[in-house]
């Protein structure tokens, strides 16, 4: 476990960069094996993202939830916890926002913030359950969080069907306009791409992520517990309470991700057969970004872009968009097994070191 966390917290720039290249190469190999043209495929992927204002806007929309889930996972990692339950917390966030958005009838300046906060707290509490079980009973947070993901899925469906369902359909009533947080002027400017304030909040959260961890006493405690629970205990920190706090904050970020998918993008919630996968992608984003604020942001941009652009591959080069999942999978593989990457880089690095020696 400690080793996994260490891998995630490593902050070298080289490994992620090389991993991305290797991931794209792996994807290319698979495309070649399937008789496709990888250059045309990647070309149409990039083309799709930048082809129109609408597509650029939609790419940003696809990136936004990944920023939230990425920092959620990264935040917990910094405290030595593997929050694999971001998926479920994301969903609880959606549900909290939908319930308030549909049921309450308030002026917009109260309604929207209330829906956002409710969703965030739903996510935070959901994560804190796993944190509490770990602190109080020693239950491994990975196990409990995975189970809580399933509970979140069915609990969400139950709440939607019980309280806000449209009779005879598998979806909720529309969220009231007063709770929606679309950026109407930008939606118009970008040919009705679904732009919303969540993107701005996501960027603010990246900054908050940094401020909490590296500027506050709480962050000092969180990092101390993450790096060495024993030393934190010796120093008089309440390790268990810190774990619960960390999970709660992580869950807030995850919940916000779900909130804005509802209030900013869809405007209603469906009864789901499976989870969306943003939470799991968040793990990949955090891993690629080395759990640093900027890294997570860039990781979200990459994965969000790949995901959204992949539809263009089938369009422009007749390549099945699932190939992008191979690319993402390969990137994660190479980042996680950074030993392999370093081993492959060794000849180049040695040469550079030698050159430097000769120059000196």
């Amino acid at each position: 476990m400690g080793k996994i966390i260490k891998t995630f917290n490593s902050s070298s720039l080289l490994v992620p960069f090389v991993s991305i290249l290797l991931g794209l190469l792996t994807g290319a190999v698979f495309m070649l094996a399937g008789g496709y043209n990888p250059i045309a495929a990647y070309g149409s992927l990039i083309n799709r993202i930048f082809s129109s204002p609408y597509n650029m806007g939609e790419t940003i929309r696809a990136i936004t939830p990944l920023i939230f889930t990425g920092i959620a996972v990264a935040f917990a990692f910094r405290t030595g916890l593997f929050n694999i339950g971001v998926e479920g917390q994301f969903m609880m966030g959606m549900t909290g926002a939908t319930l308030v958005g549909v049921l309450a009838d308030l002026p917009w300046f109260i309604h929207a913030p209330l829906a956002v906060i409710t969703g965030a707290v739903f996510g935070g509490v959901w994560a804190a359950i796993a944190g509490y079980l770990k602190a109080a009973r020693g239950v491994n947070e990975v196990i409990s969080a995975i189970m809580l993901n399933w509970i979140a899925l069915f609990l969400s469906n139950f709440l939607i069907v019980r309280f806000v369902v449209v009779e005879g359909q598998q979806k909720s009533k529309p969220i009231r306009e007063s709770a929606m947080v679309k950026m109407d002027w930008l939606v118009q400017a970008l040919d009705s791409a679904r732009m919303h304030w969540g993107t701005v909040v996501a960027l603010v959260c990246v900054v908050i992520f940094y401020l909490i961890l590296w500027r506050t006493k709480l962050g000092y405690e969180l990092r101390a517990v993450g790096l060495s629970p024993e030393a934190a205990h010796y120093a008089g920190m309440n390790v268990k309470r810190t774990m619960v706090k960390s999970m709660f904050i992580s869950g807030l970020f995850a919940g916000l991700g779900g909130v804005f998918e509802m209030l900013g993008v869809f405007g209603y919630q469906t009864v789901m057969a499976a989870t969306w996968g943003y939470g799991f992608d968040g793990i990949a984003v955090a891993l690629l970004g080395g759990n640093t604020p900027v890294g997570v942001f860039l990781g979200a941009v990459l994965f969000g872009g790949l995901n959204y652009g992949s539809a263009g591959m089938s369009f422009g080069a007749d390549v099945p968009p699932e190939v992008v999942r191979i690319v993402i999978g390969a990137i994660i593989f190479f980042v996680a097994s950074h030993g392999i990457v370093k081993w492959m880089l060794k000849p180049f690095l040695m040469k550079r070191a030698n050159n430097r020696k000769e120059a000196a």
Partner: protein, 509 residues
Amino acid sequence: MDRNKSVVQLKGITKRFGSFVANDAINLELKKGEIHALLGENGAGKSTLMNVLFGLYQPEEGEIWINGEKKIVDGASKAIELGIGMVHQHFKLVQPFTVAENIILGNEPKKGMNIDYKYANNKVREISERYRLKVDPEVRIQDITVGMQQRVEILKTLYRGAEIVIFDEPTAVLTVQEIEELIEIIRNLAAEGKSIIIITHKLKEVMSLANTVTVIRRGRVIRSLDIKETNENQLAELMVGRDVTFTVDKHKQEPGEVVLSVEDLQMKGEQGKLAVDGMTFHVRAGEVLGIAGVDGNGQSELIYGITGMRHISGGSVKLNGQDLTNHSPRQVSVAGVGHIPEDRHKHGLVLDFSVSENMILGSYFNKQFGSGGFIDYKAMDEFSQKLVNEFDVRGSGITAAARSLSGGNQQKAIIAREMNKNPDLLIAVQPTRGLDIGAIEYVHKRIVQARNEGKAILLVSFELDELYALSDRIAVMYEGRLMGEVDVEHRNDQQLGLLMSGNQAGEKE
């Protein structure tokens, strides 16, 4: 037997780790039946050299000659094949296996498809009798003492036909009596014609045991000497590179008020047994109470109990009359207890934090380091820089990770932090473990200085020399109980040793 025949010759061994030269053109000669001590401070390169000989590292330069032939030792199995055995500092034994099973592990005698246990047991008995190593081959490792486990390690090397046996810091974990027994065993081995290399930094052992000593400093051989031509002081000087004073300047002083009082303390251990079983003692201002005992007799638990790091199941802890029983580590610290922990890597420091961040580990919550929940990094850095200067913590600055400091400087950083709290009670557990002589001197000086300033000091140590050098009183702990106090004026290792092994009679002798 030709005593002048050389069995091992290391010629110009150089081993580098990156740009760091651990061994620099080292030459060493081991003769048959000789006991050769490899003396040096921590980090001098002794263990690296022996790992090269045992095939765990490959040297960049140099040659290894065994019995007059040049050999390449690429792996431990090759070393064993060449008749080299190593007794590691940390034993590599399978706890639930029997002695014989551990010894034959990796080289099992077979009878058809099955392991021939009868043969194994007999063989082990035969070797143990031949070299006078008393062990029962059929008991489990988990049921025998540390000294016995070490004998099993020695038997393991002999079973595999070792002619050259390397001991890495063999006495670090032993009691006084066990050390005597070990010295006897090593002498027997040498008398039987085995050649022995002992890695150590303890001068007394070198003087009483070795025939030849090679002093290593910063990866280089300083000198090889016949033991008859040298003495402790000269060896210390060679080892450190300057004059060393062994005694700490400590004048007598009358202790003041009782600072720490522990009454009938009880704490649960791992398997339901009491790790601390009814201990009562006091520490007064301006005195050092030393707790002697073999590792694992409840010392760690006792300290965790006093400092609030572990639950106390009975009895009480009071500081200056104020009850601290089962208070949190934060409350205990704020009440005036400084704690130099036993394991500086695990407890004392967050290794991946900067030196600066580590300096405020016990005080970050104070107003001094920022208000409104934020940390004032400038105040932190100024504070840390002051402490680093005052306590002479050397490294690459306060922004460097604590991990990057040497052991001695890590310990200095901890001492700086704990002393700066100006505690009424200072608890020091194994404060010089793994430090070199220079750093030991410094730590001892600081502890005595704190005592002279009127602080109460509780010292837990496994090193008798350290206890005698620092303590005003020495109490002996055995299986969670106090066995009694010994006289610090008239040192009597025999009596202390008996108490440490749970023999109450030690008191009367």
